[in-house]
């Protein structure tokens, strides 16, 4: 049965739980995605307690062992337990993914709304700078940043954050341009409110829907970019457990003799990105009034 517009109208009497249940009922794929994200988050943040082994401890007696009861996902070439490394790797992915997405998203939000609100030369400069940055694919720009600043977690976050800023800024600006010409913004200006108040109280809340969708998709992109950089040897470094790094060590040399070394981190990356993307799509459907009415 399709929903009517009336069903989707915001109902102030609905509790958070009711809204969540409603989201789950209407967006089963998104719910599945959310579930994957929650599992990943719980796994990452409780890694110390749930990982069966120390993820950085070599065990030469158990080198390249296939999955068994002792090592559920097998071991790598140093005898390190793959399950423990994947569990701890979730934390690295979350730290890099969330931090990059949040910093990139918020910087883009500030720039996009300001650019749209002030217009004129400020808009021109910000948008041309965005054009320059967006001319490079995300991974190429991230590679350039890492090449300048060197590898490491902080630099990887910086490398991924910088390309995300103009992408968010461009989308937010488009929404903010529409809002800028709304009568209530003119009214606020006529009342003598300052720029900061108008931006924060009247414009930012009205671009939150596209912004949240962007940030959600950024998390997936950032996790993928981190894995790609680590795979290329430019991201997180050994012995820190990170999914892309695990692929780099395993996929190239042991693809035929110990395929589990590459398969399980690959599956982890796939599930994480799939979960975040499914959730992001569902969030867009839920927040976008046009899609809601379909």
């Amino acid at each position: 049965m399709s929903a009517t517009p009336a069903d989707d109208a915001p109902d102030p009497r609905r509790t958070v739980w009711q809204s969540a249940l409603r989201f789950c009922r209407r967006e089963p794929l998104g719910t599945f995605g959310l579930l994957l994200v929650i599992i990943m988050a719980l796994t990452g943040f409780s890694a110390e307690w749930i990982a069966p082994y120390n993820p950085t401890a070599n065990d030469f007696a158990a080198m390249t062992e296939p999955p068994s009861l002792e090592h559920l996902l097998g071991t790598d070439q140093f005898g390190r337990d793959l399950m423990s490394r994947i569990i701890h790797g979730a934390r690295t992915a979350l730290i890099v993914g969330l931090t990059s997405a949040i910093f990139g998203g918020f910087s883009g939000l500030v720039l996009g709304v300001s650019s749209a609100y002030f217009g004129g030369k400020i808009d021109l400069i910000v948008q041309r700078l965005s054009d320059i940055v967006m001319a490079f694919p995300l991974i190429i720009l991230a590679l350039a940043v890492v090449a300048i600043f060197g590898p490491g977690v902080q630099n990887v976050i910086l490398a991924i954050t910088i390309p995300l800023i103009p992408r968010c800024s461009r989308v937010v600006r488009a929404s903010a341009l529409t809002i800028r010409s709304m009568p209530y913004v003119d009214a606020a200006r006529a009342c003598g409110f300052g720029h900061t108040r108008i931006i924060l109280r009247h414009m930012v809340p009205n671009v939150m829907a596209p912004f949240l969708i962007m940030v959600t998709s950024f998390v997936g992109q950032a996790i993928l970019a981190e894995a790609s950089l680590s795979y290329l040897g430019l991201g997180v470094q050994e012995p820190v457990p990170a999914w892309g790094l695990m692929l780099q060590g395993g996929a190239e040399e042991y693809a035929s003799t110990a395929p589990w070394i590459a398969i399980f981190p690959g599956v982890a990356i796939m599930l994480a990105v799939l979960g975040i993307n499914l959730f992001g799509d569902a969030l867009r459907d839920a927040l976008d009034p046009k899609l809601r009415e379909r």
Partner: protein, 532 residues
């Protein structure tokens, strides 16, 4: 036994021996395609370059004065003449060496090679003209002058007699260049090839391939056996594996990791032959003595004592091209320490628990318990990154917290030379096994520019000089032990990793090439043939 039965027995034995003899008789013809696991070499001039990319690409075009015996290349001292007629005996208490040059050697342009060409080439190697570079000039420190006394005689006069002279003279990079060309254009050989070796140059596509054809005027009659060769530059290991699998290339001569060996032997069976041997290459961990707390010998010793070499080397050799626990001298050399001698040095003690207890005690005494630092490393998998993963875990066992900073080759060298590291993965790769010269790496930077420990140590220099100038082999070996013990134990200037293992898988039809401890040596392909 009757005469007839004896004759039959002899015939039977001869029949049995025949296939083996036939299999070992070189066949003429064919083109050998092999890979060079590198990008384009910086130049084609082996006098100025240090990379195998240059020597693997150009050695077939050139002659040298003397070389390690290609039939016995694993020997550290079996030198034979290349363009000379016989190995000379020194005179003047070992300080004068006179070489007679063959009269049948021709340049590829048809002109004869003379003693003047040999002398000029060696003069450039020992004392390069201003603006020219001789990358291994420090190895020829014992040579005073090189003169051509007539058209077929070259005389080397030494500053001091040393057993390190002949190995230095056998340097595989010491190509003989044409005197006229060197005088006309000293940079000619950086971009061009004109030699007197077994193959004539035909084509070079920068970064892609280099090709040569058989030199019909080669002075070793019957050689080379190949009609020609094609060397393809393939920096990616995955490409190399696929090329050998598909028989698009027969081998690469530098060395591959154990995983590649395992894959190829599993997939190709007896179609691939794997040659292995100790490699005159080693990594070490070097602490920056100018950075605290690594200026404290107790901390450096603790880093060394934490690592279990004896237990680590065997399993590591299954995944990385490191194999033999050793000191500062190549383990295959008569100058190398025995296991019993090594086990007296800190970091090689047989009881690792005792060793780690001592490491913890030293760290506590030095106020460096739970020390956190960064290990600088080069962005090269084999064996650099594997070493880091191993030692970081070993150090964690005595409470050290170490992170790794991996840099591409350029910035890595900048870091080494700019002293911008706490502790780094370092290396010492040499050509011919020449222990007295090879251990120059462990001298202070003021003496040996490739030492990155940033220390001055006169006693270190004195012990080395005493060893270098000692001509009695037994006494020289003892002097080497004293130098080694001082470097590794007393001062802990370096922490040795297991020495490399050279693994060369090749298509089984490639014959006549023998493995040796250096990937620079024995690459002129004169003795190589194809059993097809």
């Amino acid at each position: 036994m009757s005469f007839r039965s004896a004759l039959l027995s002899m015939a039977f034995c001869a029949a049995l021996a025949l296939p083996a003899a036939a299999a070992d008789t070189p066949k003429r013809g064919g083109i050998l395609t092999y890979m060079i696991p590198a990008d384009a070499p910086p130049s084609l001039d082996a006098h100025r370059e240090t990379t195998y990319a240059t020597v693997h690409a150009t050695a077939p075009f050139y002659s040298v004065l003397i070389r390690i015996n290609p039939e016995n290349p694993a020997s550290p001292d079996d030198f034979v003449c290349d363009v000379c007629t016989e190995m000379p005996k020194p005179t003047d208490d070992g300080k004068t060496w006179t070489f007679k040059i063959r009269d049948d050697v021709k340049w590829h342009d048809g002109t004869p090679l003379t003693a003047a060409d040999v002398a000029k080439s060696w003069q450039e190697l020992v004392h390069p003209d201003p603006g020219m570079l001789s990358a291994r000039a420090p190895y020829f420190v014992m040579i005073d002058t090189v003169e051509a006394t007539d058209a077929s005689t070259v005389v080397f006069k030494l500053k001091f007699a040393t057993s390190a002279f002949l190995p230095a003279l056998g340097d595989p990079f010491a190509y003989i260049y044409k005197k006229d060309i060197l005088e006309r254009d000293p940079h000619f050989y950086e971009r061009n090839v004109l030699g007197s070796g077994p193959f004539k140059f035909t084509e070079y596509q920068t970064g892609q391939s280099i090709e040569g054809v058989r030199n019909p005027d080669y002075y070793r009659k019957g050689q080379p056996y190949l009609d020609g060769f094609k060397a393809i530059f393939t920096p990616k290991q995955a490409v190399e594996l696929d090329a050998i699998r598909a028989d698009r290339a027969a081998t690469e001569f530098r060395g591959m990791p154990p995983s590649a060996r395992d894959q190829l032997t599993k997939e190709l069976g007896d179609k691939v032959t794997v040659l292995t041997g100790d490699w005159n290459c080693v990594n070490m961990i070097t602490a920056n003595h100018q950075r605290k707390p690594f200026d404290d010998v107790r901390v450096r010793r603790a880093l060394m004592l934490a690592i279990d070499q004896w237990k680590g080397a065997p399993p590591l050799s299954r995944i990385v091209n490191m194999h033999t626990v050793g000191g500062i001298v190549f383990p295959g050399s008569s100058m190398a320490a025995t296991k019993e001698e090594l086990q007296k040095i800190a970091g090689y003690w047989p009881d690792i628990e005792k060793s780690r207890a001592e490491a913890r005690r030293l760290l506590k005494e030095a106020g460096a318990e739970g020390l956190t630092f960064e290990l600088m490393n080069r962005n090269v998998d084999q064996p650099y990154k594997f070493i880091a993963t191993w030692v970081i875990d070993e150090w964690a066992k005595v409470g050290l917290h170490v992170t790794q900073k991996v840099l591409p080759t350029g910035p890595f060298y900048e870091g080494l030379r700019g002293n911008t590291f706490d502790v780094t993965v370092d290396f010492n790769c040499q050509g011919l096994v020449n222990p007295a010269m090879d251990v120059g790496k462990f001298l202070p930077h003021s003496v040996y520019s490739e030492n990155y420990g940033n220390y001055d140590d006169q006693k270190d220099i004195d012990l080395y000089q005493a060893m270098l100038h000692e001509t009695d082999p037994v006494k020289q070996r003892q002097a080497m032990r004293e130098f080694e013990t001082y470097v590794l134990d007393t001062q802990a200037h370096a922490i040795m990793m297991p020495w490399w293992e050279r693994i060369v898988p090749m298509r089984s039809y490639v014959k006549g090439w023998k493995i040796n401890p250096s990937h620079y040596v024995n690459q002129d392909l004169g003795t190589v043939w194809l059993d097809q």
